[in-house]
């Protein structure tokens, strides 16, 4: 039922006859590839028009504002105190914000990647199929007929688009705050070399793309969970629960053997894009892991959704 009917199949059995009207042989309505994209367009618009989506994006946009204002207030009186607290990758960026507003972009992405961004993606992905099922609209999409494979692909593409939009919202909000509150100029990479502002901006965009790509594994996982239940809330809660579980497991040293297989394991490797030269190892591993999750859970979601009884 998942398989697209090809025109070859049509020829096998002859066209659907105009059984309604006597003697009338109406033409078979053909599937146009371009028309098929209409659903994707509608899905993107529908998702972006939901009050819930807008609320999530608003929260994400607020994070860089809060960080920016906090840093500004903190350092307002006592001028730049030498950023000595290296340690984690996040704080390394944080200390530099007062010197260069562009660092607010890196800081905001580092701050939202562990929790806020994946939370938002988990909500949207978990709701993708299960939300339609609980509203009953899934059966009408399927008799339209949207086609199960096409609907699933449309939903995944939309969740991926949301990953990108959510990340860009954080980045753009951070950039705006950075420009507003702090000086701009050349920046110092983690390796200590200096790069120009334009190149820094390019790296910021690249980092945003890598952060968005880091969320694709979770998106596939959420979509799979979404095919398992008829309750949108249950699917969202489960997806977010899995995210939190993975993040906790990341913190348990005894579990280092399985940690490289947890989807958040290489998330913070995006900071390596700020090295000179760029240190690709972690970045590549991250993307490989996300692709693995997307393949495994995408296939599982497909296998489940194309054979599932839709009774809601």
């Amino acid at each position: 039922m998942s398989r697209a009917d090809t025109t070859a199949e049509l020829r096998d059995e002859g066209p659907v006859r105009g059984v309604g009207a006597v003697g009338e042989a109406a033409p078979v309505r053909a599937v146009r590839p371009l028309w098929s994209l209409g659903l994707l367009r509608n899905e993107l618009l529908t998702t972006l028009r939901r009050w819930r989506t807008l609320a999530l994006l608003a929260v994400l946009a607020a994070v860089p504002v809060l960080i920016g204002v906090a840093v500004r207030i903190e350092t307002g009186g006592a001028a730049a105190h030498g950023g000595g607290d290296g340690g984690g990758q996040g704080p390394a960026f944080l200390a530099q914000i007062t010197n260069n507003g562009l660092f607010l972009v890196f800081t905001a992405l580092a701050a939202t990647l562990p929790v806020f961004l994946p939370l938002a993606v988990g909500v949207v992905a978990g709701d993708a199929i299960a939300g339609e099922a609980s509203a009953g609209t899934l059966r009408y999409l399927l008799v339209a007929p949207a086609g199960r494979t096409r609907l699933l692909l449309t939903k995944y593409a939309t969740v991926l688009a949301f990953c990108l939009v959510a990340t860009l919202v954080v980045a753009v909000s951070a950039l705006a705050m950075g420009v507003l509150l702090f000086p701009l100029g050349d920046l110092t990479t983690i390796s200590g070399t200096r790069i120009g502002f334009a190149e820094g901006l390019g790296r910021a965009l690249l980092i945003a793309l890598v952060v968005a790509a880091s969320l694709t594994g979770l998106a596939a996982l959420g979509l799979f969970v979404s095919t398992l239940t008829h309750s949108g809330v249950a699917a969202m809660a489960t997806t977010v629960g899995l995210l939190i579980t993975a993040q906790i497991l990341e913190q348990v040293p005894q579990l280092h053997a399985i940690q490289p297989y947890l989807f958040p394991h290489y998330w913070l490797s995006f900071a390596d894009l700020m090295r000179e030269p760029v240190y690709w190892d972690g970045l590549v591993k991250n993307l490989e892991l996300q692709a693995l999750y997307a393949a495994v859970f995408g296939s599982a979601a497909w296998a489940r959704f194309t054979t599932k009884d839709i009774t809601a």
Partner: protein, 331 residues
């Protein structure tokens, strides 16, 4: 009644079963569904819906009507048996068959945060065979057809039950269809709405659309349907032209008289079964013999007769006779 008489030859002579036109708009063979919980919802259903008919699908609550419709629409997989819709096996051919089918299944389902119009635009965008260039016009026409044009811009969350039902119907009418499957379409509608639906169904049927209609409202079925089938506990009890079904339940002999006791005695003597007297009305199952003789016997016995006749059984009588009087839903 002319409509019913015209469509009496069921099933159509199956000279070549490959011809979709010959095999009916819907045809199921031993269609069976057992839900995962073990509930046998549909049990060996052999249903034939003639092309061009308005087909009433009747049955008490829980008798398997919606389950059957879900299988026909490819939403659930039959446990065994086959279903063909517009001449093609389902659920294998959902992609080619369903663009020609408009459906309302178990009530409407809407996106509350979208307007009525946007709900239909989305439904139409989901169909890859629907031309986006004519989308807006078709949506407007469908809204107009169900009387929702004025409320099209309102958020669907603010729709009343009947308005939602109308919007669901509009979604089924976005394209010219060969088959309409309507699961309880008049649920929640006001009397005008019901009338409009009946008119709409007749209109569509006269254009050659086959309409498959499930309902509990037997009046409604009797008024619009040419054919009907009755389900009970997942099994098909009977199917055929509506006129035949109603005729299947025998009418009752009714005598109106100021002497009910005497009349009842005479009717029993004359061979009428199940004789009951209610005020000046005495009724019973008509005896085999000529009614003229019954009348003569009544008069001879000195019964003063005001009226005597056969009351034709309604579809409701037929339905109750077929599915039982009990009110409780079968488990």
């Amino acid at each position: 009644m002319d409509e019913a008489a015209a469509a009496t030859e069921t099933p159509p002579p199956a000279s070549s079963p490959q011809e979709a036109g010959e095999e009916g708009a819907i045809r199921t063979r031993a269609l069976t569904k057992r839900y995962r919980g073990g509930q046998l919802a549909v049990d060996g259903l052999d249903l034939t819906v003639p092309a061009g008919s308005v087909f009433g699908f009747l049955g008490p609550n829980g008798s398997g009507k919606t389950t059957t419709i879900r299988m026909l629409m490819g939403l659930i997989e039959p446990t065994s048996g086959t279903a063909r819709v517009l001449g093609r096996p389902m659920p294998r051919h959902t992609r080619t068959v369903l663009p020609h089918v408009g459906a309302l299944i178990e009530g409407p389902a809407l996106y509350g945060f979208l307007s009525g119009r946007d709900n239909l635009l989305r439904q139409d965008a989901a169909d890859p065979t629907a031309d986006p260039r004519t989308r807006r016009a078709r949506v407007a026409a469908a809204l107009d057809r169900v009387g929702l044009a004025a409320a099209a811009g309102k958020k669907a969350r603010a729709y009343s039950l009947g308005m939602k039902q109308r919007l669901g119907l509009a979604a089924a009418l976005l394209q010219p269809r060969r088959l309409l499957v309507l699961d309880e379409p008049t649920n929640g509608l006001d009397p005008q709405g019901m009338r409009e639906i009946r008119t709409l169904v007749r209109e569509l049927a006269s254009d050659g659309t086959t309409v498959f209609l499930s309902s509990h409202l037997l009046d409604e079925i009797e008024q619009v349907c040419t054919h009907a089938a009755v389900m009970a506990r997942g099994r098909l009890v009977v199917q055929g032209p509506v006129a035949d079904l109603a005729a299947g339940a025998r009418g009752r002999l009714v005598v109106t008289t100021p002497d009910p006791a005497e009349a009842a005695r005479v009717l029993k003597e004359q061979g009428a079964g199940d004789v009951t007297a209610d005020g000046d009305r005495v009724s019973g199952e008509p005896p085999e013999r000529d009614l003229a003789e019954v009348t003569a016997a009544l008069v001879t016995a000195g019964v003063r007769v005001r009226g005597l006749g056969i009351e034709r059984a309604s579809l409701e009588d037929a339905f109750v006779a077929l599915t039982g009087e009990g009110f409780d839903v079968a488990g």
